[in-house]
Amino acid sequence: MVSESKNSTKKTKIKTLQEAISQIPDGATILFGGWTVTRKPMAAVFEIIRQGKKDLHLVSNPGGPESDLLIGAGLVGISETNFIGHEVLGIPYCFRRAFEKGGLEKTGYLHDDWTVQTGALRILAGAMGIPFIPTKSLKGTEIIDPEHDLLADLRGKSKKLPNKKVEFIQDPFWDEGELLLIPAIKPDYCIIHVPMVGEEGTVRIHGGLFMDFYGALAAKKTIVTTEQITSEDYLKKQPDLNSIPAEFISDIVEVPYGGHPTAVQGMYDLDFEFFNRMVDSTKKEDTYVQWLQEWIKDLPDHDAYLEKLGVKKIFSLRADPGLGYNPRLKRKS
């Protein structure tokens, strides 16, 4: 009934990675999609490092290599998250160093600990446009101990932080006793990496969505990097498979292997070899500086990164289309 060939006045959202990242100001609150070592928007993270964005406020829940690498590069002021780590791929050395041996005092890095559930619910509340949401978690833990609240001095002053970490409340409705209210997360930017986006922004993700849908809604702007841009008409044929509508995507960037070295289900597996070398480099500040120089700063852009990676490596990571990962990959070095 509505004519297919609209005389659209819409501006294209398609940008280069440099353009998309350059709009992010220092101090921005950023939620990275994906989950620890899966489908993280690594090309975008590397471009953030290249552009040297400062004083970033990370709210990924959980964080993975993107958080550890940004902390190690000295670009993070605050992180509100339930986890920063590489799962079985090693220790998040940069994050560890930031805490240990007077690290916090030296760097001024502020960390706020949460849990997977409460981190997810805080993003959900952001997506819902409500300032808080109740949870039955956290009771009896030290996560809510005000003595450990590194953000205490900023609360009530910074508009980017909730006035309190949590609030206790008695259930007025069903006699369920005491529970906690936790504040919404309100990111300036959400950055996600996905297998497929329509030219207007409809997102299709295979398998786990993780927090990407909620993050895209919670954020003021959402930048999506994608393996490929496809036609909206193709995606419309199976709307039940689409994950985020175009209206909540601000910028579209095509970056093949933009999740490397993390895994993108159905596209390519985790690059265990590369990942291990990357994590190894973070063991010490100077080796990490070298790694950053070699793999990020000396390269002008993601294309150059891929060229350096090489065709053989890229093809070796390809996922089995039936399984979504690469069953022939050697996982243990």
Partner: protein
Amino acid sequence: MSKYTLREAMAIHASRQIRNEDKVIVGTGMPLVAAIIAKNCHAKDAVMLMEAGPFDSNPLALPSCVADPRGFVGAPWVADPVQMMGMILQQGRIDLGFLGGAQVDKYGNLNSTCLGTYKNANVRLPGSGGASDIGAMAKRNLIIIAHEARRLVEKVDYLTTPGWMLHPYENGKRVKDRLVHRKELGLWGGPEAVVTTMGIMKFEEETKVMYVSEYYADLGVTLEMIKENTGFAIDTSKADQVIPPTEDELYILRNVADPENIFI
């Protein structure tokens, strides 16, 4: 009988805590290995869940983590973390949680945040992840941890995940001189067992203090060794020898659950 290691014994004894038809939520590492053993041995109907999304996972290869595409294979449905942790777990619909950590104390409280003081840690760890939520809201919990005196401690350096006895909060402050049963805080469930590299610990019905329930006599573990490697005075008076791993279990562990030796 084949030889096997303490770590292999830990994986197999942990797997035995899973009942058929349990909905069990597992994390990266040993929990995944144990769940896969259980599903291939005595608990074929167990439903394996992961916090990042896989629901009723039936993987063909051991997932590297809870978001690994390997974990989505054979799953009839995929949750998002709000659904898994904010709905299914919080509603009390998950039967068994599998937890690890850097420290566990005599009440089953877990630490996966930091060793030393929070603000100036000796070792900063990745953080709770889903552990704290699972410890609070699964119907039963199972803890897997290497049996060392620095890990089984009188009191955890930081309480990430609630066990049995907890300091309550009053007027927003943690009351450090009072310990209450988790039920008083409105928490259900609680840790059922701690499976270590030396045996299986349980908790006294009344005091909720950890004791030795079974130990790996088959591997030469003695009650003295357990006492020496436990950071608090542990009751060993009720300890039985475990039923050793079967050939089947060992076969499954080595050839099906973790043939790449990723966690074992």
